[in-house]
Symmetry: C2
Subunit: 540 residues, 2 copies
């Protein structure tokens, strides 16, 4: 028997309409490419989004069309999110740090109709233009005064598209399964793969995010995402903030420690979100200033596992560290590691140890860990297995890539994360490694992640990676690769001694290699793929 309740499609546009009506004075503050700080409200933003939507329709954009963005975190990028999906089209955010080859692949694969680009990234587009679809239109995200010289033909100006358009719009209805967003992962093998978010998955993800970290996402808090809007929708914050009434502070391209510290300080940012590498830069700035940015109480760390030293450094200063885990294919949030009340009496050490884990799942994401045969393993906190997930915010396949989609689902339809993890009795997820980054030595597993975590705690280590190298006797052995800090290069033996405090002798790396800079992926993680390649080349 069916219930007798209305069925309204879950729609992204309803989030901004809601914010405009309910939190009209909620702020969006942006560092602009124009060089100044721009301030607006949800009420004003919803009017500009309506204008932009009218403009997109005039450009010929129809439901299902892909519209690409190549831009920093700012209010215009935010407006595009809502206007594009509002009319039923698909917002395709492009990571400007991708290689030219990858970028050409995805713009053609997505068959983008229009590309919205920040002034900063226009040179990239100029260079790639010959390889992009012929009928792709380019819009520069600025006003007429700031339009740059360009070699491109027919480039349009963002503000011209809005100019004179009505500030009201009747958003169309469509099924909530309608596609709304597209985000490619650079991946470690083959071509980038696209996750195609729906209106439904996006709204449900926003709900889950708000319900999961209610003390961060509530009316009146000020949140700065330095995680980019092109990095899985800045973890869903552009949708969750209007839903909760939180204000948004967008840093634009000013992502160095000094600029971020200054912006956070002036704007009284309560919570900031980003990847560990930027948090390390900020911690350096905090140390130099001898104080925290004014108002900062909470940080969300994700994108890659938060090293213990980072969690400690912030928690010692009274900042709540929310260690989060997810994947592009999961919208992205899977788990978060704020501590429950019954664990609040833990000692500082125990607290940090807990916070190193990925934390507890959000509502709507089911998790299972299984052995090699697919049999479920107990949630005892000790038994690691392959982690699979399921839920409304999880991908059901890659965009126009049946080949890549084939290998990532099990017989029950669960998504294979590629992580090895245990789950404890309190529901905490403990990721021990990526399956492909695990080192299998003499039939036993060694966690590269655990080794890296310890090495990162050494004051003279800026970054590091542990990878497997072939070994005739043990099959694989760990190799430690270190990027030293600015001041001093640590001694190899010191690092091995540090590891020896925690690991068995057979688990220790056989070798330590120093490099000037570790290769990073487009999202700022160490590229073990590149490292392995380099190593193979060196060996030849």
């Amino acid at each position: 028997m069916k219930g007798m309740m209305m069925h309204r499609p879950l729609k992204i546009a309803d989030l901004i309409t809601f914010a405009a009506e309910t939190y009209p004075t909620g702020e969006i503050v942006s560092v602009r490419t124009e060089g100044d700080i721009h301030r607006t409200t949800y009420r004003e933003t919803s009017r500009r989004i309506a204008q932009l939507a009218h403009g997109l329709k005039e450009l010929g954009i129809r439901p299902g069309d892909r519209v690409a963005t190549l831009a920093w975190n700012g209010y215009r990028h935010f407006e595009l999110y809502y206007a594009i999906s509002g009319i039923g089209a698909i917002c395709h955010t492009i990571n400007p740090r991708l290689s030219a080859e990858q970028m050409i692949y995805i713009v053609n694969h997505a068959d983008d109709r229009v590309l919205f680009v920040d002034v900063t990234f226009l040179p990239i587009v100029e260079k790639l233009r010959p390889h992009l679809p012929k009928d792709l239109r380019v819009v520069v995200m600025t006003d007429q005064t700031h339009m740059p010289e360009t070699s491109l033909d027919g480039v349009q100006c963002y503000e011209d598209i809005l100019d004179g358009k009505p500030e009201e719009i009747e958003w169309p209805d469509f099924p909530e399964e309608q596609a709304a967003g597209l985000c490619y992962t650079s991946g470690t093998t083959g071509n980038p793969k696209g996750t195609l978010f729906s209106q439904r998955s996006t709204v449900l993800h926003a709900y889950s995010l708000c319900v999961t970290i209610p003390k961060t996402l509530c009316e009146g808090t000020r949140i700065l995402p330095f995680v980019p809007l092109f990095h899985v929708n800045a973890w869903g914050l552009p949708y969750a903030a209007p839903l909760s009434g939180a204000s948004l502070i967008f840093p634009g391209g000013a992502l160095d420690g000094k600029s971020l510290f200054g912006l956070m300080d002036r704007e009284k940012v309560f919570s900031a979100w980003g990847v560990p590498t930027v948090w390390f830069a900020l911690m350096k700035e905090i140390t130099e200033n001898g104080r925290l940015p004014d108002g900062l109480k909470d940080i969300v760390v994700g994108g890659s596992a938060a090293p213990q030293s980072l969690i400690e450094a912030f928690e010692e200063k009274g900042i709540n560290v929310c260690h989060a885990w997810g994947m592009t294919e999961m919208s992205p949030l899977g788990t978060q590691c704020n501590l429950p009340e019954h664990l609040e009496d833990l000692s500082f050490e125990e607290r940090i140890a807990r916070k190193r884990s990925q934390g507890r799942r959000v509502f709507g994401v089911d998790m299972k860990i299984v052995d090699e045969k697919g049999a479920r393993l107990p949630h005892d906190g000790k038994t690691p297995g392959h982690l699979y997930v399921r839920g409304n915010t999880v991908t059901s396949g890659y965009f126009e890539d049946p080949e890549a989609s084939k290998s990532v689902f099990d017989d029950e339809g669960w998504f294979f994360t590629g992580d090895i993890a245990a789950i404890d009795q309190d529901g905490f997820l403990i990721i021990t490694d990526r399956s492909k980054d695990l080192i299998k030595s003499g039939g036993e597993w060694i966690s590269s992640l655990d080794l890296e975590n310890i090495v990162m705690s050494h004051p003279d280590v800026a970054n590091c990676a542990v990878i497997a190298v072939s070994d005739p006797k043990w099959d694989e052995r760990p190799l430690l690769i270190v990027q030293a800090g600015a001041d001093e290069k640590p001694a190899s033996q010191d690092l091995l001694d540090l590891l020896a405090e925690k690991f068995a002798k057979w688990q220790l790396p056989d070798n330590v290699v120093f490099v000037d800079a570790l290769p990073l992926t487009a999202t700022g993680k160490v590229s073990k793929l590149t490292l392995r390649k380099q190593l193979a080349e060196d060996a030849e």
Copy 2:
């Protein structure tokens, strides 16, 4: 183009599974009919819910069957909510304060298969038995030790149904539109009408509730609903609490001021939810004790409009009053009146004035106000109109009652609330009256609600109502009916003088009538229907 994300049905059972895994130590504390206090956790409760679900299946309950409850707020009632809907059946909560006639009507209309009843209400069932469906099975919600004597045949014991059943269950999947709950409103005319909630509407309502009042609904808070589980699912709290990680304190049948104060004090209740009449009783207890219950910081007042004197009394003591508005047909939450940050600098008087309004809408509930012809009216805070609502948590028609369903939707499919309201520029809903309670004098409207609000602020008034009486010259004129407080009867002229400070002369009641007790509806509101009937009878 459809997104490529998994489609999992939104299911109520997933809420308790989530709580058991994520907030395993979250508490459910209940005052039992057995006379003691019972303590359990979400983890333990989910095991008992699994047992109960197995038991229900053994009783022959199938998806779509209605299973009725006639019970106080307690853990067994909570278990029934989840076990019944978990197997795809429909939890039909019956208000024990309904008249015998109404109760017979709804049990037969709903065609309930099983009736779960608290020991307290067994005499009601014994009396009604001959008029209830022949094959209706009756289960008494207690253990063998406490089974009462009864004249009924074949009565079963709740704990026997759970006994020995497996503590695990694989919850079945079904479409998220599956019916899950049934709640009848006594209404003012005709037979009671049933709202049939779905799995989807219930889960989305839980999400909205959590997102709307995140400081109340978050992990570790302790919430006491004295709003009954038979009163629109205690406003959705049994679903929102497990989602947010809040603990639940159930008061059972001990709903007098003294018992509630004691329970709240001992259990360190952070937030309590209920109707104004009980809040008045609690305020009396607070005054007598000279202090608040320990830990109380927040109250939610709904069911009928919160009088200004009530809001003032609690806010003066530093308690946040969240004035909420909704309807059974809306699951029920429509709006809530926590104040936004930009209004936090208001003077106490301005703050109270704001809090008298119904507040801002929750995400997912759209509102419009229209004139007699259905044309939309501006949101200027001054222009009142007929209030219509729309959303996933709003009814699309009454259960097996096409006749009653006909008159409550407009051409666009919006639900007619029966309220007259304005909406201001900050999104605040200001209900001026029920359309049928408005007094139309000389072509002008007089708000009975506004008059009542002022009269309620007089210290010697316990309760009051303003109704329309026919008038040959003015069509209708207001009549004030007052129930005096315990100590002294206020002078009529004092009350009229009080009103004259705020209202025009023509708006003042022509007459004041004192009664010993105002008639109340089954949900504790003043029954103007009964008042009008009595008045008509008196006039004959």
